[in-house]
Every structure is written in C-alpha cells, then in structure tokens.
C-alpha cells in the first residue's frame, strides 16, 4: 500500500499533464467571485475532473501560518488527532472536537475506487490515532504555560458540532445529537449521553460533518445535514432530509426542515446584530475550476437554495434528472460568494474588542482548501466585513500560508472559535494543531 501511494504523485501528475494539455484554463479573475454578485462562467465538464491535491507534510518545529498586519499567531496545542471544530465554554475552557470520517460508503461504481484511493493519500494526512473524541483545553494566556488537557468525551461517532444550553451539552455526531449533563468547571463528562434526535448517517454518509448551534433563547437547536453525494449520483432517495438545516426542539427532540437546497452547510452561527442564522456552504464540484462558488448566507425559514437542481438561483445543473422546475422557481440566491472550491467549513463572528477594531462585527471564515481545480484556492482564514447585519466589502486574508512553497499542506483550517480572552482559535485538521490568533500589541 505504501509503495503504491508513492506512485500516486506520478500517476496524478501524468493525469494533470494530460488534463492541462487538453484544456488550458481560460484566464479568470478569482476576485470576481468574491462578494454578493459572483461572475458565473459557462459549465465545463471534463473527461477527467480537474484535480490538484495537496499532500500533507505537517508543521516543522517553529513554523506557523502567516497572519495579517496587527495580529500574532501561536500554536495553542499540537499533536492532536484530526481536530475539526472548537467550542468555547463559559468558563473559558475550550473543547477541541477531534473527528474522523465515518466508514467509507459502499462502492457503487469504478470512480468510487479511484476517488477513495486518491483521498487516502491527501485529505487525512495519515492516521492521527483513534480520534473521535473531544479534548478539553484549559489555559491562561497571561501565564505563558501550555494548556492543560483532559479527555472530555471519548468514543464518539464522527462528532463535529457542539452546543451548550444551561447544563445541557449537546454533541452532534454524524448520526445523532446526543445530550450530556455538564457543570461549569468539569474536565470530563461522567454522565451518560442521551440521544435527542437521530440524524441521517450511514451506510452512505457522504458529507458527514453535522454543524450545531442553539437559538438565543435555548429552546431550539439548528443542525447542518450535508448532501449524500456531489450531485445526486447516489440516487435522489439517498438525499432524503439532507442538504438541509434542521430545526430541533430541544425538549422533545422533534425536528423539521428549516431550510433546504444547501449542499453542505457548516459553521452554523447567529449573526449578532440581526440575530439571523448564518452558514457557510460547500457548493457542487466537477463543473469547472470556477464553478460553483462556495458561499456564506443568512438562512431564511422555509427557504430553498437550489441544490441539487440549480445554483445561485435558477442556474440549472444539467446533471440532475428529473429536474424540478417548481423548486428551481423559488430557489434563493445566497448572500455572499467566497469563490469556487475554497471549501468553507468554519464561521465565527467577531464580537470582541480585543482584536483590531476593523474586525469588529465581521465574520471569519475557515477555508479548508480546493481539490477540484488546478491552482489551489482557499487554504486560509478570511475576514468578511459586516455592517448592519450584512456583508459590506471584500473578503480579505487573515491567516495564510497553510501550504508551503511546494504546494504541500502543512495544515488546513477547519472550525473557528473566539476564546474567552477574545482571541481567534483555528482548528487545523491535518496539522493537528490549534492556532491562537491575537492582537500583535498585546
């Protein structure tokens, strides 16, 4: 297996050369796809999807990502097991959700074998250990000592989202929301979990990260349930209740579809000024290097955002049959495009004064990075300024250089959080690190 993996770059570069020679990319301004009105080029379907994958090298001692002017960055914790999301508890403790993909879906066509083989080499960065647990970090930034760690919860099922309401801590595993009793200061959860609501899991569990947040009054939970395919290739029946955000009653566990047509919604969080629910969404692949732009959007109750039938309103996807003109007719254009294939997975609003003033009120977005285009896109944390509860201005880079000069991944950003001291935390799943970004002056 290992020697076969060594051959992978050779095979990939041969394929790339072939693809490059056949289809030279038209010059395209990526910036034209950042903002409320992205430029949408014509659909391009290739004989072999454009691919450029970043193999994982990890961080050498002393290496860090690069931060924008006025900021500084440090590794808060290293040597974790595929950390994917973060949650700050009221007392300042930080939960690090370490999570692995569920067992691979059944192979239904030759492409599944090829894609599984390719993904093995690049997305996980080798086996980081057992994972599927939550680690608690307790630290005092002023003290300068590394955080103390404890295993908060273990043996979970591909967890991602966490939300605390009063003394009830909810963990969104890939197949269920499970509630646990939590008391301020707990280093570990001793009580048993109780399943609140089952969520769509396997045997096919294509987009498996279940993002979670609670309404301000604590009565409702919102959970992101990603689609079960790129574009319905596993059959439309596999998409039942997926590509949607569910609203779950916290007392009874009853749920309804709050919004749909969202291919892979993550980073669920409430915008502080308007109180609206926001999400970042991974849009569909294999329509060309500049389609379809991933986006962030406020989520309206009962709204339909297009997937799988259309994108950005009424732009039809020719790969879906039978079509649903009745749904396409009411498809909503999302609020703000982040450009194509950047893979946004983390979203947090800056509600603190400890970071430079320009960030106040805006959104940080963790972009895990592209595979379905020849030149990398994403692999960074960007900032989108907000005003009056709406995006107002161009996204700018905040944390970059997750890739090294050769295009190898030292790390990839996923989930974000603001800690109690007002610093920005970044979960880096292949660098197995939590990064802490704070004002340079402090």
């Amino acid at each position: 297996m290992r020697s076969a993996l060594k051959l992978l770059p050779v095979a990939l570069s041969a394929t790339l050369t072939l693809t490059l020679a056949t289809y030279a990319d038209q010059p395209f301004d990526i910036q034209s796809q950042v903002g409320p009105n992205p430029v949408l080029p014509d659909i391009q379907q290739y004989l072999f999807p454009q691919m450029h994958l970043s193999s994982v090298v990890g961080w050498k001692s002393g290496e860090t990502p690069t931060v924008a002017v006025g900021l500084k960055i440090e590794a808060l914790a290293t040597g974790l097991q595929h950390p994917r999301s973060l949650y700050t508890l009221p007392n300042g403790d930080v939960l690090v959700v370490e999570s692995k993909a569920p067992p691979p879906q059944p192979i239904t066509r030759p492409k599944d074998i090829v894609m599984r083989f390719i993904e093995k080499g690049v997305t996980s960065g080798g086996d980081p250990g057992p994972s599927n647990r939550i680690t608690l970090l307790r630290y005092d930034p002023a003290g300068g000592k590394p955080p103390t760690r404890s295993v908060f919860l273990d043996h979970l099922h591909s967890p991602f989202g966490v939300a605390l309401v009063g003394d009830d801590l909810y963990v969104a595993n890939t197949d269920a929301i499970v509630g646990y009793p939590y008391h301020t200061g707990d280093l570990t959860i001793s009580g048993n979990g109780v399943t609140l609501t089952e969520l769509p899991g396997g045997p096919i569990d294509h987009h498996w990260t279940k993002s979670l947040t609670a309404s301000r009054d604590g009565l409702l939970l919102y959970v992101g349930v990603g689609s079960n395919s790129n574009i319905t290739e596993n059959g439309i029946e596999a998409e039942k209740n997926r590509a949607a955000i569910w609203e779950v009653d916290r007392v009874s566990g009853r749920w309804r579809i709050f919004a749909s047509g969202l291919r892979n919604p993550n980073g669920l969080t409430f915008e502080p000024e308007s109180g609206a629910l926001w999400t970042v969404v991974n849009e569909r692949d294999e329509l060309g290097p500049n389609l379809v732009p991933d986006y962030m959007t406020s989520v309206k109750d009962g709204a339909f955002y297009g997937w799988p039938y259309s994108y950005y309103g009424k732009h039809l996807d020719p790969r879906v049959e039978p079509q649903r003109p009745d749904l396409v007719e009411k498809a909503i254009v999302p609020d703000y495009a982040l450009s194509s294939h950047v893979a946004p997975l983390g979203l947090v609003f800056c509600t603190v004064d400890s970071l430079p003033q320009k960030y106040r009120g805006g959104a940080f977005v963790g972009e895990h990075g592209s595979w379905n285009r020849l030149t990398f896109n994403g692999y960074r944390v960007v900032f989108v300024p907000f005003s009056g509860g709406h995006p107002n201005g161009k996204a700018e880079d905040v944390v970059t250089n997750f890739l090294d000069a050769d295009g190898k991944a030292r790390g990839r950003p996923v989930g974000l959080a603001i800690d109690k001291t007002g610093a920005l935390l970044i979960a880096d799943d292949v660098g197995n690190t939590i990064w802490r970004v704070s004002s340079a002056g402090q």
């Binding site: 066509r109 574009i231 059959g235 049959e321």
Partner: protein, 159 residues
Amino acid sequence: MSKTHAEGNPLSIEYPRSRMRILRQPIHPMLVPIPIACIVGVLLTDLTYWWSAEMMWANCSAWLVTVGVIFGYLAAIFGLIDFLGSRSIRAQSPAWPHAIGNVVLLILATLNMFVHSRDAWTSVVPWGLALSAAAVLILLFTAWMGRAPVYEHRVGVAE
C-alpha cells in the same frame, strides 16, 4: 504464404499459428468475447438509464465500460503480438481493417469510460450514449472482419 493456405491435402497443410497461446489455445480469441459483451451491454444499460433515470443503470454502464476497456486492451495486446509476429496473419486482407477498426473502437471506449466517470445524468446523456452507440456500430464491423481470419483462414485453428 500460399503453403499456409488451407487448401489441398488437409494432412500436409499448416494453418497460421497464433503467437500467444496457452496449452495450444490462442489467447486473443479467448479474450475478445469479454469486451464485445461489455460494449454491447453498455449500449443497453445506457438506453435503460436514458429511459428510467434510475442511477443503478448508469452505475451498470460505468462498470461495463470500464471492464470492457481493461479487457479490450488485454485482447489488443495479444492480438497485436499475433498480428505483428506472423506474416501469414498480416497477409490476410481482413486482418488489417480488423486491427485498425479495433484501435478506433478502443479509443472510443476509453473516451466513453471517462464520460461515464462523470456524476449522474451527463455521464450518459447525451455523449455517453452516443459513444456507446458508435462503439457498437464499429464493433459489428470489426467483429465481422475478425471472423474471416478464423473461420475462413483458420488463424489459430489447431492443426
């Protein structure tokens, strides 16, 4: 050339021999039924997917075209060795269109395999289906041309 032709006294003649054999069985004719069956099968499953939009049929097509291409290349390798290694095989007039036609067929089938690696509807409609139909037409021609070297000129037929 003339001495290998299957005429005259059956006891004294020598049929054109396949170069690649297992226990005197020629390999190329053993392999060709596999890609032939697959290429015909893809057209049928493509048509069924076109009519039904049921993803299982697109998946069937993807498997058939992939297996067909893999065994098609294997058959081509052994066929080419026979073709290049035996002047008496090359000398038969149907052998040339059989060989050239099958090279074209393999190129089409390879393209078709990549088209079928797309997701959902456009893995079949319209280009996958069109390539599958074109491949079957070429196959009818090349299979006919491959029939003559065996059934008339007895290539690979045991002496």
